[in-house]
């Protein structure tokens, strides 16, 4: 089996499980809805203030949803004792990692759409780019750390504690770039942030692919 094929098999497995149960997705969609409520209550009904803080809120929502969702990435494998199944899968185990990353990314993108009730049609291509770059970074490190904390006691606590500091560059970059894009500025104005995000993605994905095997062995 080729790398891509193995990756696809694992993606397919996770998609299938998710489609049958829908437990993670349903809960996360509902959670994001609640987050919208909370932001609204915390900031009051003032629309201008809400609009000014929107980029930050948006990524706060992503990160929080990502923490919950990514933290569950390996729960199924652990609870159902399939961890060994991942181990026994022949060949390059990094395939699993790439796969799970893509699943999580698609989910976060869907959440992104739900969050919106602004006029964004013009900014959509730029926004899609920023979100893609940011999500790859988030998912890459998140999956790696989720695998790391899956078998640790107090993992619910440890996972965000590890992930949040590492995510600071991605968070800063995406918030700044989102802000510019929503204000209708050209992407060239935030090119340095986009480059930083791209560099972060390359580094995280490379580090993830190279080190993931060390987490799975036992």
């Amino acid at each position: 089996m080729t790398f891509a094929r193995r990756a696809w098999v694992v993606v397919w497995k996770d998609l299938l499980v998710e489609r049958r149960s829908k437990e993670t997705l349903n809960a996360l969609v509902f959670f994001s809805l609640l987050l919208l409520f909370v932001f609204q209550f915390a900031l009051g009904p003032d629309r201008e203030r809400l609009a000014a803080t929107l980029p930050g809120l948006l990524w706060l929502g992503f990160i929080l949803a990502g923490l919950l969702g990514l933290g569950r990435t390996f729960v199924l494998e652990r609870e159902n004792d399939c961890w060994e199944g991942l181990l026994l899968a022949p060949g390059d185990k990094s395939a699993i990692y790439l796969l799970l990353m893509l699943v999580v990314e698609a989910m976060l993108l869907a959440l992104f759409v739900i969050f919106f009730n602004l006029e964004i049609a013009a900014a959509l291509p730029g926004l899609a780019l920023v979100v893609l770059l940011g999500t790859v970074g988030l998912a890459a490190v998140g999956t790696l750390f989720a695998a790391m904390t899956a078998q640790v006691r107090a993992r619910e606590l440890l996972f965000p504690v590890l992930l949040l500091p590492v995510q600071v560059p991605v968070l800063l970059g995406t918030v700044k770039a989102t802000e510019a894009v929503l204000l209708g500025e050209p992407l060239g104005a935030v090119a340095h942030w986009l480059k930083l995000l791209a560099a972060a993605d390359v580094i995280y994905v490379a580090a993830g692919v190279l080190t993931f095997d060390f987490l799975l062995e036992s």
């Binding site: 490190v141 790391m148 640790v152 440890l158 500091p165 560059p169 560099a199 060390f214």
Partner: protein, 218 residues
């Protein structure tokens, strides 16, 4: 081995004493900042040691994954702990320096922010180590985290610098700034050497302790 360690201890003690003499006795009073500038002889060597310590964690982590030598893992563990100690010291002394100089204990200046992020990142590293019981798994996971955290340092640095300097140029104490008299540089170098010796001493002692603990547990 123990002999060599205690030699380093004595050298470090002598170096620190010499550093105090240089910093307070020999180096002149700085003209614009006044005597409060003398905190620099503590602050800058601390941050130097912290960065060296995290670089050592990075190299030792790679060495562990490649060779599976427990000595490399103990070195990484010891170095991370000492690094966190000196990062904390850097933040505390910087804060004490900032109060009279800037009039505030804390500001989201680029350098302060990136050191603070380093601090929480490596506290997370130590937490992860503490939460995994199996010796071998803890070493493996910590090594992966040690690599990811180190790769993240340049990203954190650039993102935070861009984030802040758009608003205000960093105006921190700059060693090697325009008009630093040579004698001050000498005092600084003496403290650099002393802190580096102290680092070696602490890490050697801590690594030996880790070995003794493992032997006692076995």
């Amino acid at each position: 081995m123990r002999r060599a360690t205690s030699v380093f201890g004595w050298l470090a003690a002598a170096g620190l004493l010499a550093g105090l003499v240089m910093g307070f006795g020999v180096a002149p009073r700085e003209t614009t900042q006044g005597n409060v500038q003398r905190i620099m002889y503590l602050h800058v060597p601390s941050v130097w040691v912290a960065y060296v310590a995290f670089a050592v964690v990075f190299v030792a982590s790679i060495a562990y994954l490649a060779r599976r030598a427990e000595a490399a893992d103990r070195l990484a563990h010891a170095s991370a702990e000492v690094g966190v100690l000196f990062t904390g010291l850097t933040i505390a002394t910087g804060s004490i320096w900032g109060k009279p100089t800037w009039g505030t204990w804390w500001t989201w200046d680029a350098r302060l922010t990136s050191v603070a992020i380093l601090f929480v990142m490596y506290i997370g590293y130590l937490l992860l180590r503490g939460m995994i019981e199996e010796r071998e798994r803890a070493a493996r996971y910590a090594a992966v985290l040690g690599i990811v955290a180190a790769l993240n340092i340049p990203l954190v640095h650039f993102s935070v610098v861009w984030w802040r300097t758009l608003h205000q140029p960093p105006s921190l104490m700059k060693p090697g700034g325009s008009a630093m008299p040579g004698i001050m540089i000498v005092a600084l170098v003496v403290n650099f050497v002393a802190f580096s010796l102290l680092y070696v001493y602490f890490v050697a002692k801590r690594a030996r302790l880790l070995r003794l603990e493992e032997e006692a547990a076995a």
